[in-house]
């Protein structure tokens, strides 16, 4: 029985690794090696990686991804935490309506308003700029952020606020001195969830960031594959490079990634 269970466990693990094995085998194969993707290359080469790195402008793309994600996440956390405090602490009828309005944005698929959004960004001169990409990313991550923060703040005892008031803090000082420092665990969750969404985003980036100087990794890879369709091992190498940063981060911090998801979902 025990052996059977461990065989099933091993089988599950290896089945899920197959796609990554195939990808790696393709990326390491020299261009004159036409053997099956299943056969791992004996003469491994790094040429595909250097070609992908240069042809797909991946150094620029990584830099862009980094800038956009960091700026977006900082704004998301700050604006989201700020908004959540009054929404969770002072649930007047009006504030409940505002909260509902924020949360209902969760259901709106960003793509459904693509046409007007795109034409608006064109009119504002935001195509191929960081700011347009950052501001739209922030907007579409805010509902989830507000949802998580308000849920967390309502679990913080109100007595803390009252103690602060008695000690002479004004209302804003209560937020910045007492509530904000307590938000650390949920902030980690928000950073991971929204950071991943922004980092991996393709649907907005493909519209707003088409020029090489501003494009992100998903956009760079999609344009790379349409340009070098016959150089499939370059594309594979590009994919490996593209997924490397988050994968490494995930392997080191997997506990937080998985907990972040459970936190985000269970409170729903």
């Amino acid at each position: 029985m025990k052996t059977l269970k461990y065989s099933v466990l091993t089988l599950m693990g290896s089945l899920h690794l197959i796609p990554f094995y195939i990808l790696l085998s393709m990326a390491l194969k020299p261009s004159d090696d036409t053997s099956s993707k299943w056969i791992f290359p004996i003469d491994m080469t790094m040429d595909n990686f250097s070609n992908a790195w240069n042809q797909a402008h991946l150094s620029q793309a990584l830099m862009n991804n980094f800038i956009i994600t960091v700026c977006s996440v900082v704004l998301i956390v700050f604006i989201g935490a700020l908004a959540s405090y009054p929404l969770s602490r002072f649930p007047t009828k009006w504030n409940q309506f505002i909260y509902l309005l924020c949360i209902s944005c969760l259901i709106v698929p960003a793509l459904t308003i693509l046409v007007p959004l795109y034409s608006m960004i064109v009119d504002l001169g935001g195509i191929n700029t960081y700011w347009a990409a950052i501001l739209t990313q922030v907007t579409f991550q805010l509902p989830l952020t507000i949802f998580l923060f308000t849920g967390f703040i309502s679990s913080v005892p109100r007595e803390l606020d009252e103690a602060g008031l008695i000690d002479g803090c004004n209302k804003f000082a209560i937020f910045f001195r007492i509530i904000l420092p307590l938000l650390k665990p949920i902030t980690a969750t928000v950073i991971i969830l929204t950071g991943l969404n922004v980092w991996n985003d393709y649907q907005f980036s493909i519209f707003f960031l088409q020029r090489v100087s501003v494009q992100t990794i998903p956009v760079a890879l999609s344009q790379f594959i349409s340009q070098f369709q016959n150089q499939i091992s370059w594309v594979a190498a590009g994919c490996v490079i593209g997924m490397l940063p988050v994968t490494v981060l995930y392997l080191f911090l997997q506990k937080y990634f998985i907990r972040g998801l459970a936190d985000g979902a269970v409170k729903g």
Binding site: W38, I113, V115, M120
Partner: protein, 295 residues
């Protein structure tokens, strides 16, 4: 008591704290949303300055568009197909990994890995499996002497392959939520049932399943919304083709706007898609919430 009253009465000033968020929503969601309704009543091509109002013409056009039927059916398969697959597989994995096993953490880590990777890259990886020439699946067929198959050339087949890829990528989410749900069920329920002589199946049916309902609700709603708006994987694997045979409402909208330059039609389709997703997700949320039991 006095303190409490004082806090609530003069707390209205704190409402300025959510104004920045509201400005973001107003500018980038509410305004475009209303603009989208206006554009859907025009014949705007997306570029020129001139266009005229055509009333419901773009909505009527949908009824006679022969591609729209396929696209809606595909979208429903992406939405409900992935939901069913992800929940069944996710639950099976969670139940299996809930036992005392060494290295189960490692397997969870592996199953969850695709969740963090860009869907576009995941689509490319699976494209390498199903491509006609030198695809990994056809290589296996060749070992058995079978003819290679052009997997992604047939619409219905491609739709199911894409559904499978979406399931593969996000079943880690379902698994994780189910694992969290299973851990929240008190162990003494099972002990009491064992004393009463209940077998595995009746324990599963009478204890596990009812108490997992909140997790099931979250999973179903998340998966339906995710599946109905699927975009990246489709772009990577088939780009909606051949023709519109494997397209979803999202990829069709993208095509209408950027390739066919029919912004009015694309906006109309966007509105229909919004309505569709909102109705489906809110209905399933309400139906499922009703089934939940409290501990």
């Amino acid at each position: 008591m006095q303190v409490k009253r004082k806090m609530l009465s003069s707390s209205a000033i704190l409402n300025i704290m959510y104004i920045p968020a509201l400005i973001f929503f107003a500018v980038f969601i509410f305004y475009p949303f209303i603009e989208g309704i206006r554009i859907s009543f025009t014949n705007w091509d997306g570029y020129s300055q001139q266009y005229s109002y055509v009333g419901f013409e773009k909505y009527w056009a949908m009824l006679s568009d022969k591609n729209i039927g396929t696209t809606i059916i595909n979208t429903i398969i992406f939405g409900f197909g992935s939901t069913i697959l992800q929940n069944i597989l996710g639950l099976a994995y969670a139940l299996f990994l809930d036992q005392q096993l060494r290295a189960k953490g490692l397997v969870r880590t592996i199953v969850y890995l695709p969740v963090i990777i860009s869907s576009l890259i995941m689509g490319y990886i699976w494209y390498f499996f199903f491509q006609f020439d030198g695809g990994a699946v056809n290589d296996i067929l060749a070992v058995f002497g079978a003819q290679p198959i052009d997997w992604l050339s047939s619409g219905p087949r491609a739709v199911w392959i894409i559904t499978f890829v979406n399931t593969f990528q996000f079943m880690g989410v379902a698994m994780t939520i189910f694992v969290a749900g299973l851990q929240s069920i008190p162990k003494d329920y099972y002990e009491a049932a064992s004393i009463d002589g209940a077998n595995w199946w009746s324990k599963f049916k009478n204890i596990t399943l009812p108490l997992l309902m909140p997790a099931i609700t979250v999973n179903i709603v998340l998966n339906i919304i995710g599946g109905l708006k699927l975009f990246d994987v489709i772009v990577a694997m088939t780009n909606g083709g051949p023709g519109y045979a494997s397209s979803s409402l999202s990829t069709m909208m993208y095509n209408l706007y950027f390739a066919r330059q029919d912004a009015g039609y694309a906006a109309a389709l966007g509105n229909v898609m919004f309505l569709f997703i909102a109705v489906v997700s809110i209905t399933s949320l309400i139906l499922l919430k009703r089934k939940e039991v409290k501990l």
